[in-house]
C-alpha cells in the first residue's frame, strides 16, 4: 500500500491495473480522457487498450471482451453514453461473465460539454447498478469493487464520476499493479447472446428477477452509509457529500449515497427516524425521488421544495446557502464576496497558428451570407470569429446542414467538422446528404488528431492508443466512397488556394467537400516543426486593424499599430491578409 498525490482519473486508472483489467476501450471526452491515456502509457500494463472510433464502437468491443470472461472497462463522457445507449440498454439483458465497468464521466456546470445530463438516470433506465464516488479514494476503491460486483451479478456496472472527481486531486492509497494473464473465450449460448424476440422476453424477465439481489449487493457494498445524530438529517451523494461533510452541524444526522439502486427499506428506516430531511445532490433528483417515496410523514427538502437547483454544479458555498435556506446552520460560514467587476475576459482561444482560424476567415469571405453549422472540437471556438451558427452534438454539422438545405433555406450552407468527429459520427451524415441530394459545402478541418481533449490519436493519425503504427486512412477516398463528386484538398495556410477551393465549391451543385489539412500547431511544435516568426514593420503598418480582427493571440496592439509577440508560430496567414503588406518574416541580424 502506497500513498500518492493523484488526479482522479489517475486513481481510476491505477485501480484498473490493480483489479487487474484485461480490456479497455473508449472515446476521448472531457473529463474522462486521462484514464485511457494513463493506462496506455503505463509501463506495467498487461491489458489491451484502444482508442475506439466512437463510444458505441468502444462499448460493443468491451462488451464482447466481457462476454469472453475478460474484465473490461469502457470510458466516455456523459454525452458519449448517448451514442452508446443502444448496446447499453440490451447489454443488461445479455449480461456478462467477465466484470464489465462502464465509466461515464458527468460534467455538472458543463465545464466542457454541450449539456448537463445525469448518467445515474441511464443506470436506472437500463436496470444496472451505478457507483457514484464522493472522494478520489472512493473512486479508486469503487473501480476495484465494480469488477467484482459486475461478476457477482452478471451485469454491467455504471461508474459515474463527475468533473470534480476526475479532475481533482488527493492523497490516495493505492495497491500493487497486478499482471493480467487471462485469455478471452466465448461460450456460444444463443439464448443469452442472440436477442431475437423469443429470447429477449425471457432475458428481460430474468433481469427483473435479478433486481432484489442487486439491491442487496449494493447495500452490502457499504458505499451507502449513515450516522444518526439528531431529529434532522442531510442525505447527500457524489461530490456534494464531501461539501456537506465539511460543514454539517454536529447535531444533524448524515447519510451518504454512493451506490444505486438504493435499498428502500433500509432508506425508510433512516428517513423515518427524523422530522426533517434535506437531500443535497447535483443535477437530477435521483436520490430525492426515492427519499420522497419512502418518507411517509417526514418533511423532505431539496430540489422539489425549491431549496436546491436542478442545474449547474454545487460548491461548498452553494451547499452552505442551501443548508441555511432550510434552517440548518453550517459549521463554517462563507461570506458572500464578489469578484472584481468589469475585468476583460480571458476565454480559451484558438492557438496562434491554428489551422482552423484561416479556414473560418476564408469561409466568411467567400460565403459572406452563408449559414455555418459546426461541430464538437477546438473549432467550436470559431464562434468567436462569427463562423459557427449551430453546434448540437458529435457529427451534427453535416446533418444539420443537409436539414437546412432540404428545409428550403436558400443561403449557402457551409458545415465545418474536425477529422476525429468526422470519423466518429460524421460519415453517415455525409452519406445521407449525398444520397438525398442536399446542396451544401462541407469543410473537413483535418489536423490529424483529436486536439481538444488532449491530442488522442484516431484512425487518421497513423498510430494507436499504445503508439503502434496503423494504416493511414484517406479522408478523400472516404468522401468519394460516400458519393461526393467534388473533393478538394488544400493547405489552410495558403489563403489564395484555400479561397479558390471554397469559391469552386460554392459554384458547384450538390454536396462538395473541401479538406483543409495541416497538423495541429501543438503537435507540430512537439514534433519539432519550426517555421520562424513574423513581424510587423511599424513604418508600413497603417493601424487598420485587419490583423487584429483576425483574432490571433500572437497579434497585439501597441500605440495604434499591430505588434507580433513570442507566440507566433510562423503560419504566415496574417502576412497574407495585411492590406498594407506590413507583415513579413523576421530576419535575424
Amino acid at each position: 500500500m502506497d500513498q500518492r498525490y493523484l488526479l482522479g482519473n489517475e486513481a481510476i486508472a491505477l485501480a484498473c491495473l490493480e483489479s487487474p483489467v484485461g480490456f479497455v476501450s473508449g472515446y476521448p471526452g472531457t473529463p474522462s480522457s486521462e484514464v485511457i491515456e494513463i493506462l496506455a502509457a503505463h509501463p506495467d500494463r498487461s491489458s489491451y487498450v484502444e482508442w475506439s472510433v466512437n463510444e458505441k464502437v468502444a462499448f460493443e468491443n468491451a462488451l464482447a471482451a466481457a462476454w469472453c470472461g475478460v474484465r473490461s472497462l469502457v470510458t466516455m463522457k456523459h454525452v458519449g453514453l448517448n451514442v452508446a445507449a443502444d448496446p447499453l440498454m440490451t447489454s443488461a439483458y445479455t449480461g456478462v461473465t467477465g466484470g464489465f465497468v462502464i465509466m461515464s464521466a458527468d460534467d455538472p456546470f458543463a465545464h466542457s460539454s454541450q449539456n448537463e445530463q445525469d448518467s445515474r438516470m441511464y443506470a436506472k433506465f437500463a436496470k444496472i447498478p451505478c457507483l457514484d464516488p464522493s472522494t478520489l479514494q472512493e473512486a479508486h476503491d469503487m473501480i476495484r469493487d465494480a469488477f467484482a460486483l459486475s461478476e457477482a451479478l452478471g451485469l454491467p456496472v455504471l461508474f459515474r464520476p463527475t468533473t470534480r472527481i476526475c479532475h481533482s486531486k488527493s492523497n490516495v492509497t493505492v495497491g500493487p499493479v497486478l499482471p493480467y494473464s487471462g485469455k478471452g473465450e466465448f461460450h456460444k449460448d444463443p439464448r443469452q447472446y442472440v436477442v431475437i424476440p423469443a429470447h429477449t422476453r425471457i432475458l428481460h424477465r430474468k433481469l427483473n428477477e435479478k433486481q432484489p439481489a442487486v439491491r442487496k449487493r449494493i447495500l452490502e457494498s457499504g458505499y451507502n452509509q449513515y450516522h444518526f445524530r439528531g431529529k434532522r438529517a442531510i442525505i447527500a451523494s457524489g461530490i456534494a457529500a464531501a461539501y456537506v461533510q465539511e460543514i454539517i452541524p454536529p447535531d444533524v444526522s448524515f447519510m451518504k449515497i454512493g451506490a444505486y439502486p438504493i435499498d428502500e427499506e433500509w432508506l425508510a428506516g433512516f428517513v423515518r427516524k427524523h422530522q426533517e430531511v434535506l437531500v443535497v445532490e447535483e443535477l437530477f433528483p435521483v436520490v430525492e425521488e426515492v427519499v420522497r417515496e419512502v418518507a411517509g410523514t417526514v418533511t423532505i427538502l431539496g430540489k422539489k421544495s425549491g431549496h436546491a437547483p436542478y442545474e449547474g454544479e454545487l460548491s461548498p458555498e452553494s451547499v452552505a446557502r442551501i443548508m441555511e435556506s432550510c434552517g440548518f446552520s453550517p459549521a463554517v460560514h462563507y461570506s458572500s464576496v464578489q469578484p472584481a467587476p468589469d475585468l476583460p475576459p480571458r476565454p480559451p482561444i484558438l492557438c496562434a497558428g491554428c489551422m482552423h482560424r484561416p479556414v473560418f476567415y476564408a469561409i466568411k469571405k467567400v460565403f459572406r451570407d452563408g449559414i455555418y453549422p459546426s461541430d464538437i472540437g477546438c473549432y467550436t471556438l470559431g464562434l468567436q470569429l462569427g463562423a459557427v451558427d449551430t453546434t448540437i452534438c458529435m457529427g451534427a454539422s453535416i446533418t444539420v446542414g443537409s436539414g437546412f438545405s432540404h428545409a428550403g433555406e436558400e443561403r449557402d450552407i457551409v458545415a465545418t467538422i474536425g477529422d476525429s468527429t468526422f470519423l466518429h459520427t460524421g460519415i453517415p451524415g455525409l452519406l445521407n446528404a449525398v444520397y438525398n441530394g442536399a446542396n451544401m459545402t462541407l469543410v473537413i478541418l483535418d489536423n490529424r488528431t483529436t486536439a481538444m481533449t488532449g491530442h488522442q490519436p484516431n484512425p487518421n493519425t497513423g498510430c494507436t492508443a499504445c503508439g503502434g503504427l496503423s494504416p493511414q486512412i484517406s479522408l478523400e477516398a472516404l468522401c468519394r466512397a460516400c458519393g461526393v463528386a467534388h473533393v478538394e484538398m488544400v493547405d489552410p495556410y495558403d489563403l489564395v488556394m484555400l479561397t479558390a477551393a471554397l469559391k469552386t465549391a460554392k459554384s458547384l451543385p450538390g454536396v462538395k467537400v473541401v479538406i483543409a489539412k495541416q497538423p495541429c500547431v501543438i503537435t507540430a511544435r512537439r514534433a519539432g516543426v519550426r517555421r520562424g516568426k513574423y513581424r510587423v514593420d511599424p513604418d508600413t503598418c497603417t493601424g487598420c486593424g485587419t490583423c487584429i480582427k483576425f483574432g490571433c493571440p500572437a497579434i497585439e496592439q501597441q500605440d495604434e499599430k499591430a505588434w507580433i509577440n513570442d507566440l507566433c508560430s510562423g503560419c504566415a496567414v496574417c502576412a497574407q491578409i495585411c492590406p498594407a503588406a506590413a507583415i513579413g518574416r523576421e530576419v535575424s541580424r
Binding site: 498525490y5 466542457s112 481533482s168 461530490i239 464578489q338 476565454p347 471556438l381
Partner: protein, 194 residues
C-alpha cells in the same frame, strides 16, 4: 473553523499552474499529510484563464470557497485580480509582475488594463510582486517562472522547505532539476516573510 491551509494558484493555460500545485501536493505526501486539489483541464487550457485549488491538510472537497483562501499565487497580474475574491480579508498574495493582455481586449476594443491600475486594485491585500521571469532567466530558463513563484510564496506555505525542494526535484523533467532547484531557492530569497 476550517482545518486546512488553502492556496489558489492562478494564471493562463500553459504557464505551469498544474506543476506548481502538484509540487505542493507531493510535498504533502512527503510529510504524510492529507491534501485536496482541483484543476482546470481540457479546452480551457488553450490560452484561457486557469485556476488550481490546493488544500493542505484538506480532508473533504477539493474546492476552496470564495473568501477563505489563505494564499493566492498569481502568474499574471490580471488573473491575480480576477481570483482575488477567493482570499480571506487578511490573506496574502504573491504575484508575478507579468501581464498578458487577453486577445479579447484587442478584438473587442476593450480598455487595455495597465499594470499600475491592476496592482492598485489589489492594494487592500498583503501583496508582494515578484519579477518571476527575470529571476527564472537568471536561474537558467524562463520556463522555471512557476517554480520561482512557488519559492517566493514558500515562506507562507506550512510545509518544510526541504519537502518542497524534494517535491520540485521529483516532479520536474530530469534535465531541468538543477535549474528548477535554483529557481526555487532564488524565488524563496525574494518572497515575503524571508
Amino acid at each position: 473553523m476550517k482545518g486546512s491551509y488553502d492556496i489558489m494558484i492562478v494564471g493562463i493555460g500553459g504557464q505551469g499552474t498544474i506543476l506548481a500545485s502538484n509540487i505542493i501536493g507531493e510535498a504533502c505526501i512527503l510529510e504524510g499529510r492529507t491534501v485536496r486539489g482541483a484543476e482546470t483541464h481540457g479546452m480551457a487550457q488553450r490560452g484561457g484563464s486557469v485556476e488550481s485549488h490546493v488544500r493542505i491538510d484538506g480532508k473533504f472537497g477539493p474546492l476552496i470557497a470564495p473568501g477563505i483562501a489563505d494564499l493566492l499565487i498569481g502568474f499574471d497580474l490580471l488573473e491575480g485580480l480576477r481570483y482575488s475574491h477567493f482570499l480571506r480579508p487578511d490573506g496574502k498574495i504573491v504575484l508575478s509582475e507579468r501581464l498578458v493582455i487577453p486577445t479579447s481586449v484587442y478584438v473587442q476594443h476593450l480598455a487595455i488594463p495597465s499594470s499600475e491600475e491592476l496592482v492598485k486594485q489589489l492594494s487592500r491585500f498583503d501583496l508582494t510582486l515578484i519579477k518571476a521571469e527575470e529571476i527564472a532567466k537568471e536561474a537558467g530558463s524562463v520556463l522555471a517562472s512557476n517554480v520561482v513563484m512557488l519559492g517566493a510564496a514558500s515562506h507562507q506555505i506550512p510545509l518544510d522547505e526541504s519537502s518542497l525542494i524534494q517535491a520540485v526535484q521529483r516532479l520536474v523533467p530530469r534535465k531541468t532539476i538543477e535549474i528548477n532547484t535554483r529557481a526555487f531557492t532564488m524565488g524563496r530569497k525574494v518572497g515575503p516573510g524571508c
